[in-house]
Amino acid sequence: MQPTDIRNPDYFHKVVDCQWACPAHTPVPEYIRLIAAGRYADAFMINWNSNVFPGVLGRTCDRPCEPACRRGRVEEEPVAICRLKRVAADYKGDISDRLPRPAERSNGKRIALVGAGPASLTVARDLAPLGYELVVFDSDPRSGGMIRSQIPKFRLPEEIIDEEVGYITDLGMDMRLGQRVDSLKALLDEGYDAIFVGCGAPRGRDLNIPGRHEAAANIHIGIDWLSSVSFGHINTIGKRVIVLGGGNTAMDCCRSSRRLGGEDVKVIVRSGFEEMKASPWEKDDAMHEDIPILNMLVPKEFTHKDGRLTGVLFEKVKAEYDARGRRRLVPTGEPHQHFECDDVLVAVGQENAFPWIERDIGIDFDQWDMPAVDEVTMGSTHPKVFFGGDAAFGPKNIIWAVAHGHQAAISIHQLCQGENVRDRPPPLVNLMSQKMGIHEWSYDNDISLDLRYKVPHRDKLLALRDIKAEVELGFDEELAYAEAQRCLNCDVQTVFTDDLCIECDACVDICPVDCISFTANGDEAELRLRLNAPAHNTSQDLYVSGALKTGRVMVKDEDVCLHCGLCAERCPTGAWDMQRFLIDVAQAENACCSLQNA
């Protein structure tokens, strides 16, 4: 193999699995260290720079970082990254003086943003300090988009949304709430310099099976029902409720039902339990609230009597796999099963809908009636129109919406400055030795053996009594510290300098996870098999040195490195060094991004 080029920022960035997996590339280990140091406000600001909604995401994020967390590969469970984010938000105190100020002067550019959800608000935050005049439209009476309308208050209290949306709207923008945009053409005609479409995926998929029409009064579309609950238009439901669907919306629907009078609430899904789209922890929370999840049942008919819903009829199915491993659900042949209920909530997916975008204004749509959007620039085929969030590529989640927002903001800024939208600004990168003395590092390299801590929950009876009572209580400072100590500091990189190495083997002997080998060079596939510990995880890179004095090379398998720094502690020549790698991916002019502690 060729020697690894560590000057390529992607190399070390990939080693920080959590940050690499985060769509917004939040510097996770950096803020976790700050939490451990009790510097909550600093930790919050790092989050705010990257992901804009730390308090919201600390409760609701889909956490792509956690399955990626290295801790999960050397121990049972990953670090509770998401809930530590919440800790930063909970204990930060007043950070208002750290936020950017509204621009003093307009730069003369006017931008329209359709939708006041996480994607649009991210674009607005990145551009507002630069002097852009921003006009934000949303059909809902309050800003926040799905954060406010679809996430139940027992998971995300209203005041958190108000606070974090407020940090953005306070930067100065024209909020046109309750104002639906009915024509993109008309909006374009108003002469905006750019338009950002972040209107989400607002249409809940319906289930057109027999009885749908007749029993309509007691059959509700999940996201619409959640929105009505959220805005206080609905506050009761029948005692027996069936929720159809296996995603997070279904989990929110069933748990909301339990709080609005539902006593016998069931979730029924077509697929197997394991394949459900809902996050495992959301399934756990639902089951904890006495909501059974029944699987392998395909709804066939809404049964009704005298114009009133009586239940749902299901066909029993089983999974069969074809030669290529694709799953098919086939009937088991058993008799259909009937479940009685008073209300049904249909949460079988969301769809995009762009009836308000004319098809003759230069925006191409694909065969699924989705706009053609560039994955890097977020641009459409119309030079002035950009998309982001669920509106761009279909339903994803908040953190993806934020990531799209940052990229769209860069594009809009490039466009308005007369630059090429394809020219993307480089990330800010900093790599710095952490050595303080012999066996002394500026990070805590002692590895905690603690297992993942559980976030305390409100007592179930109390929680079910009030739909606004937050279920998760968050870590207290003591638990937060203990959980933060589980982080392996993967951003403190093991940096190897070939010509300092005397091949004494000290690093090989001390490495607790056998990730360092000195051996003859070879092809990657072959090399992976003859290291001190076989390197089967090909998604993780091998760090290969140049030829050493004996002609061998140093090969480090990044996979399960604990970043404990013992290799560097035992290295007599400083060939190994522990260096903190900070990477802040670019934002528009980095107006909201100050590289903390660099």
Binding site: I447, D505, A506, I510, D514, A533, P534, H536, L566
Partner: protein
């Protein structure tokens, strides 16, 4: 200086041996030696050798004297018996322990000061008595604990870190061990685990006096230009006569070797040593030829490493003395103290 314990977390695919132990179970406390010390590599090699041989840690006794090398038993085999003796006196303690209980596996760890200076008499006698043990000298050619004076094994002409030349002739412990009747003699290098680990395994399997002189660079005081035990010097002047594999079970020999390049040596305990010869004319069974060869190569400035001499069917001290097989701690009082009548009989034979 802080010395963090090595984290307990380990590689998820860490293999287990026949006893269900991982390599990590054979480790000891974290080393407090200088970073990069050759001795730590030897400790690492001992850990691997014991793991590979499926040795039960509680059946091993590790004994040492005084010095950097003699500190190392703390850093491996944390679950074994240990005895840190007086300077240079490890061989007496080991001999006594072996006489009292021949069932344990004895591992003596010493240094060039401990064995070639203050303890040279003890070294000589344990070799000539043929005590069943593995005796490793971690040989760095300097007194590291007292800041780098030449030791008795340092070559004439070698330079100290300050540039002073050594005028005294060196003691060659390998030559002495051969002359004094050790039945397994090897030399190796801490920087070459491929050679060292199987040598330690073979020595542990050997049922007689096994001696390994392991050159171990002192990174603090003897790893400079002009040193004869630096990493660079040893690598440049290393003449390895063979590499070996220790075959304990019914493993099949799958690799084909050119005729004359491999020799299989059956050991008394049933294991086999597969010698992969690098110097084809070298005969590991010829003690006198070995001594001559070593002297010749030494005169040419080369360091001969590998398995240098082995007697596959050795006799040990217990055999010479015709002692009882049962360890003392398993004998009852009447056996250990048979009474005055027996004493009178013994005395009568001596009159």
């Amino acid at each position: 200086m802080t010395f963090l314990p090595k984290p307990k977390l380990h590689h998820p695919e860490l293999p287990k041996n026949a006893l269900g132990f991982t390599k990590r179970d054979y480790e000891g406390a974290v080393s407090t030696l200088c970073a990069g010390c050759g001795h730590d590599s030897i400790s690492g090699a001992i850990v691997r050798a014991c793991f590979n041989l499926d040795l039960p840690p509680h059946r091993i006794a590790k004994l040492s004297g005084i010095g950097c090398s003699s500190k190392t038993p703390t850093y491996f085999l944390g679950a074994s018996h240990g005895f840190n003796s007086v300077h240079g006196r490890m061989p007496s303690v080991l001999t006594g322990a072996n006489l009292a209980n021949r069932d344990l596996i004895y591992l003596g760890v010493s240094g060039d000061g401990d064995s070639a200076s203050i303890g040279i008499g003890q070294f000589a006698h344990i070799m000539r008595r043929g005590v069943n043990m593995t005796y490793i000298v971690e040989n760095n050619g300097v007194y590291g604990l007292t800041k780098g004076q030449f030791s008795a094994t340092s070559d004439r002409g070698a330079k100290s870190r300050r540039g002073v030349e050594n005028k005294d002739e060196a003691i060659d412990l390998v030559g002495m061990a051969l002359q004094l009747g050790a039945t397994f003699v090897a030399r190796s290098f801490s920087g070459d685990k491929d050679q060292l680990i199987p040598l330690i395994e073979a020595a542990l399997k050997h049922q007689g006096a096994a001696f390994i002189d392991c050159i171990s660079p002192c990174v603090a005081f003897n790893n400079h230009e002009g040193s004869h035990t630096s990493f660079d010097y040893v690598r440049e002047h290393n003449l390895a006569v063979n590499y070996l594999d220790v075959i304990t079970g019914r493993e099949q020999i799958t690799v084909e070797y050119a005729p004359g390049t491999v020799e299989m040596v059956k050991q008394h305990d049933g294991s086999t040593l597969r010698l992969r010869k690098l110097a084809n004319d070298y005969d590991v069974h010829d003690r006198i030829a070995a001594m001559t060869y070593l002297q010749q190569r030494h005169a040419a400035g080369e360091i001969v490493t590998g398995l240098l001499y082995v007697d596959p069917d050795p006799e040990d001290l217990h055999h010479h003395m015709n002692t009882i097989e049962t360890p003392f701690n398993e004998l009852d009082e009447t056996a250990l103290c048979p009474g005055s009548t027996v004493l009178q009989k013994v005395n009568a034979t001596l009159r």
